[in-house]
């Protein structure tokens, strides 16, 4: 599948934004976040900024961005529609929660925990909907399996944790607990990602050139002549092949940059202070970001679509 830059940015940035949001609010409910208004504004600002930037960029690949509002209407059948709708609805309790936190920083009113819990639930549902857009596409077996939503949810939380951990040092709520949460989530991300790769590598093909043409009874089906000499939309959009060639190298890059480097950097902050800590936190965020973008690029580019069976692919 062609990895559209806007969609890669959207899924990684808003995923991380929701991760920050979810973890911040959960820790706030647990009483682990200090009261200060700047804590509220900066943390929720980073989260909502990433979410909004991601959502806006997702409209960049549309043929008609000005009609994007219509995408809320078909939530009965379409995961894309559900995703848009939940993304929008989530803003409401989050903004109420944020405003509430500015006025009552210690969460002293009875409605604050309710709004906070609602925000967390809606954010999780939104990330799940994003994953289900891909997981519901049967022609792409690498996506339509149970690992896709698991990976999206865990990576959203792990990337959010790396960011929130970095913020915590500047906003005065750094803790061993948050470091541990980040490391555990990163390890969980690494494990589910490796299991995802294993499962798609071992899965038997869903469709073949034989089932695509129905000619399997006669023998092995090979494309002899394509419909035309040039490319077409189907081939460029669904038949992207560059990343598959480099898949092994990209996987190493994801494992090291996305998980191993941030884990090491975050753990080392236990033994550093001052400028070195700032450097380590910067490294944790940058390496995690590079690894995550590589992970998402590979997720798109590595996935084979059944239409390629009509253009020379033998099994998908």
């Amino acid at each position: 599948m062609h990895p559209a830059k806007s969609v890669i940015f959207f899924t990684t940035a808003s995923g991380a934004g929701y991760g920050v949001l979810i973890l911040f609010i959960l820790m706030d409910i647990a009483g682990l976040i200090p009261a200060g208004w700047h804590v509220t504004l900066i943390s929720l600002g980073v989260a909502l900024g990433l979410i909004s930037a991601g959502l806006l960029s997702s409209t960049a690949h549309l043929g008609h961005p000005e009609r994007a509002w219509r995408a809320m209407s078909q939530w009965r059948t379409s995961w894309l529609s559900r995703e848009g709708l939940f993304a929008l609805i989530t803003f409401l309790p989050v903004l109420i929660y944020g405003a509430g936190r500015l006025v009552y920083p210690d969460m002293t009113t009875p409605w604050q925990p309710v709004v906070a819990a609602l925000s967390v639930a809606l954010a999780l549902i939104t990330v799940y909907c994003t994953a289900m857009i891909y997981a519901s596409l049967r022609p792409i077996p690498a996506w339509s399996n149970g690992w896709t939503p698991v990976c999206y949810l865990i990576l959203s939380l792990s990337s959010g944790a790396v960011l929130l951990n970095a913020l915590s040092f500047f906003l005065g709520f750094a803790s061993v607990f948050l470091i541990l949460v980040s490391v555990v989530l990163l390890l969980a991300g690494l494990i589910v990602k490796i299991m995802y790769w294993q499962s798609i590598a071992l899965a038997s093909p869903r469709s073949t050139a034989e089932s695509a043409t129905g000619l399997g009874d006669m023998g092995k089906v090979k494309l002899f002549e394509a419909p035309h000499q040039g490319d077409n939309y189907l081939m460029t959009e669904m038949g992207f092949r560059i990343a598959r060639k480099h898949a092994a190298r990209l996987k190493r890059l994801v494992i090291l940059w996305g998980f191993v480097f941030p884990i090491i950097a975050i753990l080392l902050t236990r033994y550093s202070d001052g400028a070195i800590t700032i450097g380590l936190l910067t490294i944790s965020v940058l390496t995690a970001a590079i690894g995550l973008i590589a992970e998402r690029y590979l997720f798109f580019a590595e996935a084979k679509h059944s239409v390629t069976l009509y253009y020379g692919e033998s099994a998908v």
Partner: protein, 249 residues
């Protein structure tokens, strides 16, 4: 709405006879010609006379070589492919705006060009590659089963079939209602073992493909009369044998 109709009154679709198709691409050309002036007009052509021509086509002909596992003779099969107007069309249900829809009256799957946002998700959801993105208009387009021909009373009755069907010089394409078991297409498909493409994708396509008939092997044909007339053996005529002798002097 992108919810699929529980039942359509008709199931209009095509039968494509792979035994007859000669791979001439006339159906694709006439499809392009009709549709670039019809419901989905225009169908873009990028760099049409250049080295890297590309464009929107609703119908394309792939040619496959089928190699028997037992090492017998290969077969060439020309394979036209257009939208299969699935009963469980995933391209419809994934559409976030409702631009994609399946008609309750005849089962044709269409795109409303005024509400399509060009997100391309329907093209990802279709296992068959029936959806074509129009870069110029920023919307998705697709085979309409020539909805602007088949009900068009300004056309002579025999032209009220999809452009690909009316133009096929070999008669490899038929159009009709698969919802009616007594229709010509239903009977033809039943008689010839018509099949659906990729049933494992759970889309319940309406279009049916008829398999190529078994054929004699090259060796069998050489043995059984279809081979070339042998020269100068006893089965050749008197004149031929006499000429052969004279010319061999």
């Amino acid at each position: 709405m992108t919810a699929l109709p529980a039942q359509t009154q008709k199931k209009l679709g095509l039968v494509i006879d792979l035994d007859i198709c000669v791979g001439c691409h006339a159906c694709a050309v006439n499809c392009k010609e009709w549709n670039t002036g019809g419901h989905s007009a225009p169908l873009p052509d990028n760099d049409p006379y250049g080295a890297d021509a590309s464009g929107v086509w609703f119908n394309r002909i792939h040619s496959f070589e089928v190699v028997p596992e037992d090492g017998g003779d290969s077969r060439m099969v020309h394979f036209p492919k257009s939208c299969l107007h699935c009963e469980d069309a995933p391209c419809v249900t994934v559409c976030p705006t409702g631009a994609s829809y399946k008609r309750e009256e005849d089962g044709i799957v269409l795109v409303n060009p005024d509400t399509c946002i060009g997100c391309k998700l329907c093209s990802w959801a279709c296992p068959y590659g029936a959806r074509e993105y129009d870069d110029d208009a920023g919307i998705m387009k697709k085979c309409t089963l020539c909805v602007d021909r088949i009900y068009n009373e300004t056309l002579p009755a025999d032209m009220r079939v999809p452009a690909c069907v009316s133009t096929c010089p070999a008669g490899a394409r038929s159009f009709g209602d698969f919802g009616d078991p007594d229709s010509d297409v239903s009977k033809l498909s039943a008689a010839r073992g018509g099949y659906a493409l990729m049933p494992e994708q759970n889309c319940k396509p309406v279009n049916r493909y008829l398999p190529p008939r078994p054929r004699k092997t090259v060796a069998e044909e050489a043995m059984g009369g279809a081979g070339l007339t042998p020269v100068a053996d006893s089965s050749a005529g008197v004149m031929a044998r006499w000429l052969d002798k004279i010319l061999s002097l």
